[in-house]
């Protein structure tokens, strides 16, 4: 059953198709949730949040696009986990995960669009290796030690690649008129 037919089956309300998706992506979704909030939650909490992700998928199957199932699940998993984190009043520390403030730009959506485009431009402008490190840390919340363990790249190199990504992002945001 390929992704296109799974999505079609989900859209028809086929529960077996959802079970296929859960079998395929339960580990991925749980890992994303655990990376963000694992230290503050039990295994049962992770499972409960993961089931929320798949329940959301089920309720929104009409909007799914073939080829984008994993990004969709990743995005919802991050969103649910960050929401839980907020409910628990906890934070996750990432490498210099600085805050951009630009209260002087009242036209809200231009700012949001610019920053969304900026992050996309940044990732596209990084070398594939630097991009992967950036995504692992800032999207998947992997620690530097975890990245080192999974990729074999030394922690100091991981840090320098993250720094390069941040510099690039800073410059692109600066070019687009967003002050840090």
């Amino acid at each position: 059953m390929n992704e296109k037919s799974v999505i079609k089956a989900l859209q028809r309300g086929d529960v077996q198709a959802l079970e296929v998706v859960i079998d395929l992506y339960a580990s991925y979704v749980s890992t994303v949730i655990h990376n963000i909030i694992g230290t503050h939650m039990t295994k049962e909490d992770v499972e409960e949040t993961a089931s929320d992700v798949f329940y959301t998928l089920w309720n929104n199957s009409g909007n799914l696009i073939p080829g984008k199932l994993k990004p969709y699940l990743g995005s919802i998993a991050r969103s649910k986990a960050k929401n839980k984190l907020r409910e628990l009043d906890k934070t996750v520390t990432l490498e210099e995960d600085w805050i951009i403030t630009s209260d002087r730009t009242p036209d809200a959506i231009i700012e949001a669009k610019e920053q969304t485009h900026a992050i996309r431009s940044t990732l596209e402008a990084l070398t594939p290796a630097d991009k992967e490190i950036f995504i692992r840390h800032y999207y998947y919340y992997q620690t530097v030690a975890e990245i080192e363990a999974e990729t074999g790249i030394k922690a100091s190199t991981v840090k320098s690649k993250l720094k390069r990504g941040r510099e690039k992002l800073k410059y692109i945001l600066y070019e687009r008129g967003v002050f840090l």
Partner: protein, 380 residues
Amino acid sequence: MKYTISDLLDLYEENDVNIKDKNIASSKKIKELTMEKIESRKKKARPITRILIIAAIVAAISGAALANSLGAGSYFRNIFYNELTEEQVQVLDEVGTTSMESVTDHGTTITPVAALADENLCYIVLEIEGPEGTQFRKLTENEGYYQLGLDFESLEALGGFSMGTYWYPDENQVSNRITAVITIEGTTEKLNDGGEKWIRFDNIYIQSPEKEYTLFLEGTWAFEYGRNLTSQSVEVPVDGMIVSRVNEDFDDAWQLTLTDMKISSLGIRVCYSYSANTKMVTPVPGPIKVVMKDGSEIGVTISTQVLFEEPFDEEFLAQAEEAYARSIEEQRAAYESSKTAEYSTYYEEWSLYFISPVNLDEVAYIQLGHDELQIPLNNN
């Protein structure tokens, strides 16, 4: 508005990196829990629906339906980059709505006084009145800012979405009232299709720069905002039009085939395809601007000259340019090595928003690069 790098990645469609699964949860258990939720839903109305119904009843009992003599445009005078002209306010009066109902919970009333939208973007102005004794004020940088506790499920029907909130406290006094403007960006469902759309907030917090949340006001407020939204929008005939774009950094050029363009009072969306042997750089069909019949121009990006009004940091700029030059050298090599023997066709969508709303009746043409695109008449 404040973001962290990880927040900026919320809308990123990640599909390239394979992370090692930690196997910390049981897929069997996840399946059971998910199926229980689906079964539970079949047996009773969804919890959110019940809450929405309760919210609607509260609004009805309180008799809080908004008697609004002002048009929607009046509420948006100050949120765009430039203060609106009377004509622009009239445009927003026509496309926006003020027919929404307030909701009171735990003594706090939130009134969505005006909303406007095009297909992908919606602005809603909320007037919030806390219980007597509540003190809304302009928070300092170190304190953070007010934050509405968004119920994500209420927006997930939009497919992908993003929401921003902009607070407008009274600069001169502390009071129990504050105005907030929220922006909702949907990616799959048309926001202006006239269908029922809900958004729900649980509590109002103060969010610190360290992302710590302190409960400020307790309550649940849910609003229907979609039924009365319309939009002035026009299809621009571009199907098959080809534009050339060059990227000097990477010494490359593309032929972009435009497949669809739509302009609304708030922005432009362009769909296009192109052939390339690497996806490392995505070309866009811009620059783009709207030229009005009186000769004035409406831009789609923030003007740098306005944003650079603070003392210019020459040292930072020099460092940034140096870093960028170094980075480009490395990226050029990566770009060349990322090219494959085979070309693929890529399909892209590019959405841009105007720095102030546009009366489409007064548009002379759209300037896309060197091309002037005419807007058809009577095609709303």
